[in-house]
Subunit: 400 residues, 2 copies
């Protein structure tokens, strides 16, 4: 058994980012930039009005003064002339401030009668003008490579005049569930059989992280079938479930071995999820997850999500945790890093309270589904009294 | 100006959930259940082994005893016979516990030589057996209607034998950007023009919430064009941007009015985003957002996301906030609920520290994009010293 963090680092060290892909602007949402977004123009392109009102010379626009309206400058229709002494130009939010003007008199502070404008409250020079380049300047880097794009980023890239974005190609992950006992949902169940759930859950985990999961046909407990399906190729990573334990019916290592499988490690000091395979089949990395659904999903959070992050060029590949306090006394831990399925609720002082489920059996998918997060317990962690600080991996926020 | 919360409640009161849609299991990820998922079977379907080892009678399997191996029960291949006195059946994780056995002797605690099995460490009755129905029982509700499905939920629905799920249809939202001054990214810019960014950012916001945004062609500042595009129909909601202010060039209300637009309210006591229109064009609700990109996005977070949640049948439609402490002194607030663009970073005591950006101008998209969240400041909130508690809407976690 190797320590969890060693395992994760060995996995990450073997993962390469996918190459760049050009996508239309809107398709860039939630993708990871492969090339930075650089401003193609200056925003605003000129000094513009921040309000609806009148472009004036502040020196003239004192309370009680009367000005002459000589034109209009709505957004998109710049005023070609100049604002002279005693003059005002009608302007609207976003309109270019005409030459000669140095302030915007907001319409609430003026009264127009035909071409005559009476100033009811004077204005200081510079007021309500957004200066050229206030938002950004041409040539400036707005979004760095390696950033997962938010909706705000899409808006910013649009404003900077980018109809296309260059992002990392979505990782394609093959998912191979093995076992004589499993059948697809809705299909006839063999005697003693159960419905296959891991492949579907893992495909959703992969989708949540921005990858594409491809569910291969279920492989029976037969080395030839496993080898044939695993070797189908065209993927950035092969994830298997089941067959990673020490039993005679755990065939994945044996099956892959026929095709030159290079094992890096298996068995990790963690719970749930001790039996985990990591290696390489030709050029394709292989992650062999346990068959128990809870073990498979926890291992996916701990190892597969960081791998998917790394594949997409994200800089920080560790799983995000949030601080919380233990809702009950936690017993001392043994040599395996534990991941307690827990609910999260705000406590009296605003801090999150993490309370582990009563049953932590690795076959209990319903308990996992109703959990909000995983309390991390380090190997040999001493007993921890209720109210002490713990770190929790939140799950629903990940879409997991 | 009406209070923000009143506005949100009036918007939500007018929103109806979309109808149900049947999707394949995997397509249910991140969708909202319209009908509960009920277990179609019992899991595990029988008492099963939690380990690889031997099914035995605990009374016989005392340390030093020798048993006779009479068969095997791998997962998916139940043993047809019975475990008699002095007998053991080879079993693997997930295998059905054969009749007669009442414990699993794990293989680490036994030594097999041909059919002879020596017990090296005895086992107690019931050990390493997962009881029938430990995870869930046929007929039990596993996932309620109104739940946004996680990857774990997809796994649970699969295990409960559901190849299909019934979810709320994705809301279809039309997005109409207006303004003579805007052009699509990459298109020739008119004189005094800027690139349209709101529609693209809003489409991404809608995607982040599980809706489908349809970007209509840009409408010039012309009532007829706006009316024609707005009336194209087939949408659950029309969102406009720009033209919601009081200027003469703000035409949206006027344009919609030609087609029997029923205004509910406009102008909200909030910042950024005072000018906001809410009403109905025939049967279609209309949300008119301000043209400033920061105002439009903040209003989308505050009003559009809750509306999208309600459309998808989610029970809690309020925007999620996280507790934090102010990173600087905050001045007293005026009558408008404020949303300060802020960075979030963990503080020394583990609590989040929210620090507002120096500039809060509603045209500064780059500042918004680099923010982590929005500090909420209630109308007339008194000055707040650094270190005091604030509530923050986190943005990146929403994909916004």
């Amino acid at each position: 058994m190797i320590p969890l963090e060693d395992a994760r680092q060995r996995i990450l060290a073997a993962i390469r980012p996918t190459g760049p892909e050009t996508v239309p602007l809107g398709g860039g949402w939630n993708r990871v930039l492969a090339r930075p977004v650089v401003a193609r123009l200056t925003q605003p392109p000129a000094d513009v009005s921040a309000m609806d009102g009148y472009a004036v010379r502040a020196a003239d626009a004192v309370t009680g003064a009367t000005l002459t309206i000589t034109g209009a400058a709505p957004a998109g229709h710049p005023f070609a002339g100049e604002v002279g002494a005693g003059e005002a130009v009608r302007i609207f939010t976003g309109g270019f401030v005409p030459a000669g003007a140095d302030a915007i008199l907001i319409q609430e502070n003026a009264k127009a009668e035909g071409p005559r404008l009476t100033v009811t409250e004077g204005v200081a020079a510079g007021r309500w003008i957004r200066r050229r380049g206030l938002d950004f300047a041409e040539g400036g880097e707005l979004l760095p490579a390696g950033r997962r794009l938010t909706a705000r980023d899409i808006g910013l890239a649009a404003a900077a005049n980018h109809p296309w974005l260059t992002v990392h190609r979505r990782p394609r992950i093959a998912i191979l569930a093995t076992g004589d006992e499993i059948a697809l949902p809705g299909e006839p169940l063999p005697p003693g059989g159960i419905v296959s759930s891991n492949a579907h859950a893992l495909a959703a985990v992969i989708a949540s992280a921005g990858g594409e999961g491809c569910i291969l046909p279920i492989a029976p407990d037969d080395a030839g079938s496993i080898a044939e399906l695993a070797g189908s190729g065209g993927y950035d990573l092969l994830v298997t479930t089941g067959g990673a334990s020490v039993g005679e019916h755990d065939l994945v290592q044996k099956a892959l071995g026929q095709d030159g499988f290079a094992l890096d490690f298996w068995k990790i000091a963690m719970r749930p999820g001790k039996p985990l395979i990591w290696g390489r089949l030709g050029a394709m990395p292989v992650l062999g997850l346990p068959g128990n659904p809870v073990s498979a999903l926890v291992c996916a959070v701990v190892f597969l999500l960081p791998a998917l992050a790394r594949m997409q060029g994200l800089p920080d590949a560790g799983p995000r945790t949030v601080p919380a306090i233990a809702g009950v006394d936690l017993p001392e831990n043994d040599q395996r890093a534990d991941h307690l399925r827990a609910t999260l609720a705000p406590g009296a002082d605003g801090r999150l309270v993490a309370t582990p489920a009563n049953r932590q059996d690795s076959s209990m998918l319903a308990v996992l589904a109703s959990a909000d997060g995983l309390i991390l317990r380090a190997p040999f962690a001493p007993a921890l009294p209720k109210g002490e600080a713990v770190e929790v991996i939140p799950l629903a926020a990940l879409g997991v």
